[in-house]
Symmetry: C2
Subunit: 68 residues, 2 copies
């Protein structure tokens, strides 16, 4: 598994939990599929920069912050 994708997934899950959003609500906000986001959060899904930009915008952070 990709270390980078695993780290990004953990960060996204943490951000989502801090907002107390269900994964379904998070998927609705992103207009995407909750099982896809589940895989992203588990680091099991390759993801694009444009998708990460949407996620970063939702949390009012920069894309690079998802890598830390």
């Amino acid at each position: 598994m990709s270390k980078t994708l695993t780290q990004i997934g953990k960060n996204i899950r943490k951000l989502r939990n801090e907002k107390d959003w269900s994964i379904r609500h998070f998927a609705d906000l992103l207009e995407t599929d909750s099982s896809y986001l589940g895989r992203v959060e588990r680091g099991q899904q390759n993801v694009s920069i444009k998708q990460l930009e949407k996620i970063a915008d939702l949390f009012s952070i920069k894309v690079i912050d998802l890598f830390k």
Copy 2:
């Protein structure tokens, strides 16, 4: 255009030029298409984390370094 993709593209072009690689040689190393890489370098191509990992590995840097 995506600010993040534009920054990533500039960084990749800089790294490639520092190695004095043609874009064709760079594409061969990545086993991909040179016109695709041209669009990536111009920030006109959405790109995935796994693709960025391959590029970062080629330059022996971390993916996050492509965002700075």
